[in-house]
């Protein structure tokens, strides 16, 4: 068993939204009692649509947001109870790679300045004289030419900018990398480069990764485990094979069926989509009672409105939060 690096225990995040006046503020439950374990050398993929709470979860995992309840433990330390220098130390160990390489880099700083900044914040990590070398090494590590140190972000393509973002995240030698939609802003032909780079770096550095994306085929490729989120809750978790070939939650099945199949021969065989999910994800300000998915589920019964299904499974590796999990049939759900 690999070393546990990061563990979320029943973390929830609630936001108060709306005007303060006359007590009309309402509660938005962005993340609801999520458990998650990140181990060294392993990638956990999180999939879900917008509004599923996956980005809020990422912010809590890296310590940017404080959970309303529950806790995040990083290398055995409670991340959200740390203060001052111990917090600063801890935050080295977990870094975030953001979606948009166009806005997450300061346009007025050169690549060298961007990559040096982490060492200025943590001066004990590298003596001043060695920092330029460190920065060139980082650039080389992500496959960029160290000659380009004096350039500005706008002089790079989207894929190169995302590489710079990854280099910055790796500067402090983190143990855990949280990637929030790291390739979705990139051109199709460039996405594969960045995915391969992340996989190589993980192997080399033994990182534990959280890979958040809405693109199921990308997550299936990169992840060792996949958690499916819907309206702030994990509704199913398992190995990529479990999730893809033996989905037990109706939402997982519908989500997989919604992805257009790029293999045209499968369309020709008439294996086109069978399920088109009706309606849209409900507002997290007013989620349905019981199972959040019941309003769009084709097999919901009265129990689903009354009782929240909890994650469980005979097979502890494959967990599903559904009162009426789907029969496990062999073979892939046709896309």
């Amino acid at each position: 068993m690999d070393e546990v690096l990061l563990q979320a225990r029943s973390v929830s995040k609630r936001f108060q939204v709306g005007p303060r006046l006359f007590g009309s503020r309402r509660t938005l439950q962005a993340v609801d009692s999520v458990d998650l374990t990140v181990t060294a050398h392993r990638t956990i993929g999180i999939v879900g649509e917008s509004g599923s709470g996956k980005s809020t979860l990422a912010s809590m995992l890296v310590g940017d947001e404080r959970p309303t309840s529950g806790e995040v433990e990083l290398l055995g330390r409670p991340l959200h109870q740390l203060r001052g220098s111990s917090l600063r130390q801890a935050r080295r160990d977990v870094q975030l790679v953001r979606q948009d390489p166009y806005t997450s880099l300061n346009p007025r700083m050169t690549v060298e300045q961007i990559l040096r900044e982490p060492f200025d914040v943590h001066p004990d990590l590298a003596p001043r004289a060695s920092r330029r070398q460190k920065v060139s090494d980082l650039l080389a590590m992500v496959g960029l030419n160290p000659d380009q140190l004096d350039r500005y972000p706008h002089q790079f393509s989207g894929g190169q900018r995302q590489r710079i973002g990854i280099a910055r995240a790796l500067a402090l030698k983190p143990r855990v990398l949280v990637c929030d939609e790291p390739v979705s802003a990139l051109d199709v032909s460039v996405q594969a480069q960045v995915i391969n780079l992340l996989e190589d770096l993980q192997r080399e550095l033994g990182l534990g990764c959280v890979f958040i994306a809405h693109d199921l085929s990308v997550v299936h490729h990169i992840a060792d485990r996949i958690a499916v989120m819907y309206l702030g809750r994990i509704v199913e978790e398992g190995s990529p094979a479990d999730i893809h070939d033996r989905p037990q939650h109706p939402y997982t099945k519908a989500l997989l069926a919604a992805v257009p199949e790029p293999d045209r021969s499968l369309h020709a065989e008439g294996r086109s989509r069978q399920i088109v999910l009706q309606g849209e994800i409900p507002s997290p300000l007013d989620p349905p009672s019981g199972c959040h998915f019941r309003t769009r589920c084709w097999q919901a019964e009265s129990r689903c409105a009354e009782e929240r299904p909890l994650l469980s499974g005979a097979d502890t590796d494959h967990q599903v939060a559904c009162h009426f999990p789907l029969e496990v049939t062999t073979g892939r759900v046709s896309g």
């Binding site: 649509e49 917008s50 393509s157 989207g158 894929g159 190169q160 051109d187 199709v188 032909s189 460039v190 996405q191 594969a192 480069q193 995915i195 391969n196 996989e199 190589d200 809405h214 199921l216 085929s217 990308v218 299936h220 490729h221 990529p240 893809h244 519908a254 989500l255 069926a257 919604a258 992805v259 257009p260 199949e261 790029p262 293999d263 045209r264 021969s265 369309h267 020709a268 086109s272 989509r273 088109v276 999910l277 009706q278 849209e280 994800i281 892939r332």
Partner: protein, 329 residues
């Protein structure tokens, strides 16, 4: 099959810091009645500029059309008077944009915005146009259409807004619908709904659909015909079944292979090195040459678009020389 739209030798230039650059260069295709043509390309491929040229909605100061014809139902819309073009736009060809929030007027109720189209093109009275707007909203699957017609764009979700924009595009009963990345900003389950809607509408009205996208899955699901664009040029064109079964351009093949598949798990993905070129500094010869695994020395001269099989075109020196090139990928 009759071609409703024929684009021939279209060239669109954009103003850049270094002068005018060709965003669309020698692009030709035809759109047949009731069929879907997918234009597949990455950023800078010229796919959106081509669509905008068809509607006459290119940015006026930053762009110009310097060559080519765009025939819509037998009329070259680049030659006709602006007033006539306005009639064609809407009544013959209408467009759905990626970003419905910025394409709709934020301060007018959506029903009113649809009404405008009906009144302008079909000379309907106000009352009839209003009824028509509600019918259209209902047609595109907006629940409680009568009430929702009075709502403003911001009161709709992303998917519902996209439906409103489709309703608006349908207001003058066009024969051709141009959809520029209509589902890119949407979640997959909503994307599936919108693609189904487009498919149904097209079927019912025998509309032609020009679908602009970067998503291979969307193309595989929707297209009857495919045009693959790169750096402003058509690299491959043909019937979708034919192009998917026998891609004849290295770029098309590489794109198809870069999509992660279940059976590739545990292996590195096939990559296309580098990134799409800047149109103001295109490489000489074949624009894909610097990224092409099969590039040879004669690729530094511009390859012609050659018909390799009936209706199947590829712009590659190698495809022309060696027809077996498609066999090994």
């Amino acid at each position: 099959m009759t071609a409703l739209v024929e684009v021939d030798g279209l060239r669109v230039e954009f103003r850049t810091r270094t002068g005018w650059a060709r965003a669309v260069d020698d692009v030709s295709f035809h759109l047949e009645e009731g069929r879907t043509m997918a234009v597949l390309g990455e950023s800078g491929s010229g796919k959106s500029a081509t669509a905008r040229a068809m509607l006459g909605v290119l940015p006026a100061e930053q762009s110009r059309i310097t060559a080519g014809r765009i025939d819509v139902a037998g009329e070259d819309i680049l030659q006709v008077a602006e007033s006539r073009r306005r009639t064609i736009r809407g009544a013959e060809v209408a467009m759905v944009f990626q970003d419905a929030l910025s394409a709709l007027n934020p301060v007018l109720p959506v029903g009113f915005q649809i009404t405008e189209g009906c009144q302008a093109h079909q000379r309907m009275g106000r009352r009839r146009a209003r009824e028509r707007a509600v019918e259209l909203l209902d047609l595109v699957g907006i629940p409680d259409a009568g009430r929702r017609a009075r709502d403003y764009p911001h009161q709709f979700s992303g998917g519902m807004r996209q439906r409103v924009m489709i309703a608006m595009a349908l207001s003058a009963d066009p024969r051709v619908l141009v959809a520029d990345e209509p589902t890119t900003a949407l979640d997959v389950t909503i994307q599936a709904q919108i693609l189904d809607l487009l498919h149904r509408l097209q079927d019912e009205r025998r509309m032609s659909l020009l679908l602009i996208t970067h998503d291979m899955g969307v193309v595989a699901q929707m297209a009857d015909d495919i045009t693959v664009m790169y750096a402003g040029r058509v690299l491959e064109q043909g019937r979708a079944d034919e192009v998917f079964a026998h891609p004849r351009h290295p770029y098309t093949r590489a794109l198809m292979q870069s999509v992660p598949r279940a059976e590739q798990k545990g292996q590195p993905l096939r990559v296309i090195p580098g990134s799409p070129p800047d149109i103001s500094a295109l490489p000489a010869g074949c624009a894909f040459r610097p990224r092409c695994a099969q590039a040879a020395h004669d690729c530094s001269s511009p390859p012609p678009l050659v018909e390799l099989a009936a209706g199947h075109f590829s712009r590659c020196h190698l495809a022309r020389r060696d027809p077996s090139v498609s066999a090994h990928g």
